[in-house]
């Protein structure tokens, strides 16, 4: 597959707002994610993380502001060939087997092969013939991740990818994310688990649709003057509210 020219930033979000009726889900968010970086979006439920990810993948049209992905300003259908998206809900076809689901998404992205590697990556190769409706929630999450990366995207958007995944596999996931990032894949991952946030290279703390702070985990802790990210988040959120 043709790869897009290397850009300094894989994602540039500029003053993006989005409202749903009276609710302001994104309130002037500006952030930049470098190529090959693992960027964590950290915030409580309803903070605007999913809306921001959906804006980056073109599913939400911003009310104002702009989103640029891999050097192309959205909306742009072609750039989506290089983007992998794992939704919060394990969006799979329950009547198909694990392998059939992954093969389907490979076909949608126009790639042949890579299915075995994707299934091995999520440790589901031995369960490839299982029908999705019959497997556990954690396995569904893993299958969903395989679907998101089967086409070897340059940008991978993961919306709470480790929900329901056991701790051992979660460690493996993060190891793999690091390897992918090292090979140049940009990963944006949303989470409200502080332990996972520590594994990101940079973090964006988000609440009420606004970006409260940005930086590496240590920078965020230092800025808040706290020992851990949880306290840092609470301190920064309180600071903004007051």
């Amino acid at each position: 597959m043709e790869r897009f020219m290397s850009e300094t930033y894989a994602v540039e979000v500029d003053s993006v707002t989005k409202s749903f009726g009276q609710l302001r889900a994104l309130d002037g968010v500006t952030l930049k994610v470098r190529q090959g970086e693992i960027y964590g979006l950290l915030g409580p439920n309803g903070a605007g993380k999913t809306t921001l990810i959906r804006a980056i993948v073109g599913l939400v049209a911003p009310g104002s502001g702009s989103v640029t992905v891999l050097g192309r300003r959205l909306p742009n259908l072609d750039v989506l060939r290089h983007v992998g998206y794992m939704t919060q809900q394990a969006a799979l076809y329950p009547g198909l087997s694990v392998e059939e689901n992954v093969k389907f998404f490979a076909a949608i992205y126009g790639v042949e092969g890579g299915v075995k590697e994707a299934l091995e990556f999520v440790d589901l190769y031995n369960r490839r013939s299982s029908v999705v409706a019959t497997i556990s929630g954690g396995m569904k999450q893993r299958c969903s991740l395989a679907c998101a990366l089967v086409h070897r995207p340059q940008l991978l958007l993961l919306d709470e990818p480790t929900v329901g995944v056991d701790p051992q596999l979660r460690v493996q996931f993060w190891e793999s994310f690091r390897r992918m990032a090292a090979s140049g894949v940009t990963i944006i991952v949303s989470s409200h688990v502080m332990d996972e946030a520590e594994r990101c290279q940079r973090l964006g703390l988000i609440q009420y649709g606004r970006l409260l702070a940005e930086g590496s985990p240590s920078e965020v802790r230092a800025r808040a003057g706290t020992q851990n990210l949880e306290d840092a988040f609470l301190a920064l959120a309180g600071e903004k509210e007051s």
Partner: protein, 364 residues
């Protein structure tokens, strides 16, 4: 049994409806729409149009004509016998009756023998014509001195006395069954695509909206074609439904109806948020088409405003095409069949465009 637990369940159910205003609206609007339509159709439908060609030199032809004109079962007009068949073919008459020149003469010798020409492809229109004639003849013969035999000579332009109710409805039912089942499967499946989150995933991929709609269309159409073959074979080989036309042409019309149903299902699924709401579309979409497309009552007998509605329903054209082929033996050289097939094909294109256009809006 705990009354409190039962009450909790009941309360839970009603609370859910309270927040699902669309379902509540459909629940109460659908029956009014359907019953209102049925009432209007039943009460306001016009009677079959019958042409009368009175060639009788004697008084009895005029007496029967006068009695027919007073009948509430039919509406009459005076025609020339030579124009009769053309008027049956263009649908302006359901039947025409000829009183031959020797009608009175024969009546005086005890035989009343009018010529009745029936169009024959529309269910239920022959009965009121024959009934009105019977009453008119009885009234005219009441003053006759001796015994009188009624010997109407009935001729059918299409079909004939051997056709039963199933022959009339079978042609329309083939299209209706395929349309109904394919519509239900498509609307529910497409809604599943949205509720299980896979549509969001597809919309975040390089897939174009038109590709999604076409992919669905082809997939469901393949299934629908198999179903169409099954329905057709069953109707023709097992039920022995009357057919004078080309089987492949019937299959082609069935296939077009299936494609309409697939695309209508995709399009309407955009306006439903839950499977429950999608199911509510069935009475609103299927029942009016069933009532108005000419399956039960000829479109020409419907009240004028409903005829306008019938004219925009794709099933009307499909039913007409099916009857033309199966009962009249029409082929694609018939202009009326070309129009019917053309309209159904046009509706397909329209629905594909509409389905593609609304896809993004509902996912965002």
């Amino acid at each position: 049994m705990s009354g409190r637990r039962v009450a909790a369940l009941t309360r839970r159910l009603l609370q859910g409806f309270r927040r699902d205003r669309r379902t509540v609206a459909l629940l109460f609007v659908a029956p009014l729409v359907i019953l209102g339509l049925l009432g209007y159709l039943m009460r306001s439908s016009s009677v079959p149009a019958v042409g009368i060609a009175n060639q009788d030199a004697g008084p009895i032809g005029a007496a029967v004509t006068s009695a027919l004109e007073r009948s509430s079962l039919i509406s009459t007009s005076t025609i020339s016998a030579s124009d009769g068949d053309a008027k049956l073919k263009d649908g302006s008459l359901a039947a025409y009756i000829v009183f031959p020149s020797n009608f009175s003469q024969r009546a005086q010798s005890g035989v009343i023998a009018p010529q009745v020409h029936l169009e024959g492809s529309q269910p239920g229109s022959a009965t009121p014509v024959l009934q009105a004639l019977q009453q008119a003849l009885a009234s005219a013969a009441s003053g006759a001195p001796g015994a009188v035999r009624f010997e109407p000579q009935v001729a059918y332009l299409y079909g004939g006395p051997d056709l039963d109710t199933l022959d009339y409805f079978g042609a329309a039912a083939i299209g209706l069954i395929v349309f109904f089942l394919v519509f239900v499967i498509t609307i529910v499946s497409f809604l599943n695509e949205r509720s299980q989150g896979t549509l969001e995933r597809l919309m975040a991929s390089p897939l174009r909206r038109g590709e999604i709609v076409l992919g669905y269309m082809v997939g469901f159409t393949l299934l629908a074609l198999v179903q169409s073959v099954e329905v057709l074979v069953f109707c023709l080989a097992v039920l022995n439904v009357h057919n004078q036309g080309n089987v492949f042409l019937i299959f082609g019309i069935e296939a077009l109806m299936a494609i309409v149903a697939v695309n209508l299902g995709i399009f309407l699924s955009m306006f439903a948020r839950t499977e429950f709401q999608a199911v509510q579309f069935i009475p609103l979409v299927i029942v009016p088409q069933f009532l108005l497309s000419g399956i039960l009552f000829p479109v020409s007998s419907e009240p004028k405003p409903l005829q306008v509605l019938s004219d925009v329903l794709p099933l009307t054209y499909a039913v007409n095409a099916m009857r033309d082929v199966m009962l009249k033996g029409a082929d694609l050289t018939w202009p009326s069949l070309e129009i019917d097939v053309g309209v159904v094909a046009g509706v397909i294109v329209l629905l594909i465009v509409a389905g593609s256009a609304t896809l993004r809006r509902r996912i965002a």
